[in-house]
Amino acid sequence: LPAGTRQKEEGGIQLTQKYLENYYGFKKDGESFIWKSNSPMTKKIKEMQEFFGLEVTGKVDSGTLDLVQKRRCGFPDVAGFT
């Protein structure tokens, strides 16, 4: 990918990852970031997309990227938060 696009994509991934850590209890594990369909991050992205009624792709698509940049309540969307 051209550098600019790659940077933008990585920025979106980091933004989404931060969002999932804040509101979906995602814990980034030690392993490098792998795009496996069942990677923890992909699962969490699907969980978030399902909550917001987005298309459940598991990818940081434009709808997901748009959502993670919106103002919101700081309380998580997943239960079990104490």
């Binding site: 804040n22 509101y23 909550f51 917001f52 009624g53 959502l67 940049q69 919106k70 103002r71 919101r72 309540c73 700081g74 309380f75 969307d77 239960a79 079990g80 938060f81 104490t82």
Partner: protein, 377 residues
């Protein structure tokens, strides 16, 4: 609800505003917080009492970045506020991100709207997946003239605390056994063509439209209208008022219900009210009035009863000895009226679904309007 369904075991809860954002006047912060709490008290038996010192169930504060809990804020945007489920210590508390620009309009971040959401958490509600619900996690532009609770919010809060005690609660306050059974709330909607008003008055440069338990506040130059519970402004005032008029030069507004009236200044009911309407000079056989307005140009107050009116002249300090047919003084206005107010040089009479604009100089109706003419429909 949260895991374990935490909720308050009592119905009277206290709240305290620990500090204030510099973005708004303290009086506006107080009003926004009070109104946000009244959203929930209007559909449950809950009551909220403000404390200015000591501990309170719901402690409200503004802070930026890290602020002595485990959820630091993140600067402008992103996370704008959070609140904790019911419980001791900081259970129930609500924190607002000072890095946002807090407003009382639809620009910036509206404090009333965010506070209403956060107090949903303070009372035990979790986030909703329903994008129309107040408990949906993402902040959206909202219409201040529409009551902010969606059925999903009402289902959740009444599941925890039951319905409001007031007998005439608008929202079909049946005990929610199965949330899916409850009916849509019947709330007044400004764009309903059959909308009628109980009373209309000017109020500190705005116009107030009363309907059942609520009123809309609308500045003629501003597109949107604010929607409030009467009890959020004047807790002792009953719903379903009959008439109201303002005396601008005294900053007083007179509100009638049955054979009583109250005088308010801002959101304060002046001491010594309610009083009986015959203290204004009405004969005993008059038990209520339908509408009223004060014509500052003439120094006269007009009280409308059925198809007649009585006027009080403040200069001669005298009331008409007997009622006069409305159509005699206001040709084209026939029969009983619901409400009336003066705006600039015109009088606006509300009769059922119709509104008549009346020009007192030409002594005739100049326009026939819908009742929701003043709203962005």
């Amino acid at each position: 609800t949260f895991a374990g369904e935490p909720k308050w075991a009592k119905q009277v809860l206290t709240y305290r505003i620990l500090n204030y954002t510099p973005d708004l006047r303290p009086v506006d912060v107080n009003a926004s917080i009070k109104k946000a709490l009244s959203v929930w008290s209007s559909v449950t038996p809950l009551k909220f009492i403000k404390k200015d010192r000591g501990d309170a169930d719901i402690m409200i504060s503004f802070a930026a970045r890290a602020h002595n809990d485990f959820m630091p804020f993140d600067g402008p945007g992103g996370s704008i506020a959070h609140a904790y489920a019911p419980g001791k210590d900081f259970g129930g508390d609500a924190h607002f991100d000072e890095d946002e620009t807090w407003t009382k309009s639809t620009e910036g971040t509206n404090l009333f709207y965010v506070a209403a959401h956060e107090f949903g958490h303070s009372l035990g509600l979790f986030h909703s997946k329903d994008s129309n619900a107040l408990m949906y996690p993402v902040y959206r532009k909202f219409d201040p003239s529409v009551f902010p609770l969606h059925q999903d919010d009402i289902n959740g809060i009444q599941y925890l605390y039951g319905p409001s005690n007031t007998h005439n609660d608008q929202r079909e306050s049946t005990e929610i056994k199965d949330p899916t059974e409850s009916k849509e709330p019947t709330l007044p909607n400004t764009c309903d063509p059959s909308l009628t008003f109980d009373a209309v008055t000017t109020f500190r440069g705005e116009i107030m439209f009363f309907k059942d338990k609520h009123f809309w506040r609308k500045h003629p130059a501003v597109q949107t209208a604010d929607f409030n519970l009467i009890s959020s402004f004047w807790p002792r005032l009953p719903p379903g008022v009959d008439a109201a008029y303002e005396i601008p030069e005294k900053d007083k507004t007179v509100i009638f219900k049955g054979n009583e009236f109250w005088v308010v200044r801002g959101d304060t009911i002046l001491p010594g009210y309610p009083q009986k309407i015959h203290t204004l000079g009405f004969s005993k056989d008059i038990t209520k009035i339908d509408a009223a307005f004060y014509n500052g140009n003439e120094g006269k107050t007009y009280y409308f009863i059925a198809d007649k009116f009585l006027s009080y002249d403040k200069r001669s300090q005298s009331m008409d000895r007997k009622p006069i047919l409305i159509s005699n003084e206001f040709p084209g206005i026939n029969g009983k009226i619901d409400a009336v107010f003066q705006h600039e040089n015109f009088f606006y009479f509300f009769c059922g679904r119709k509104q008549f604009e009346f020009d007192p100089d030409k002594k005739r109706v100049t326009r026939l309007l819908k009742t929701n003419f003043w709203f962005p429909c």
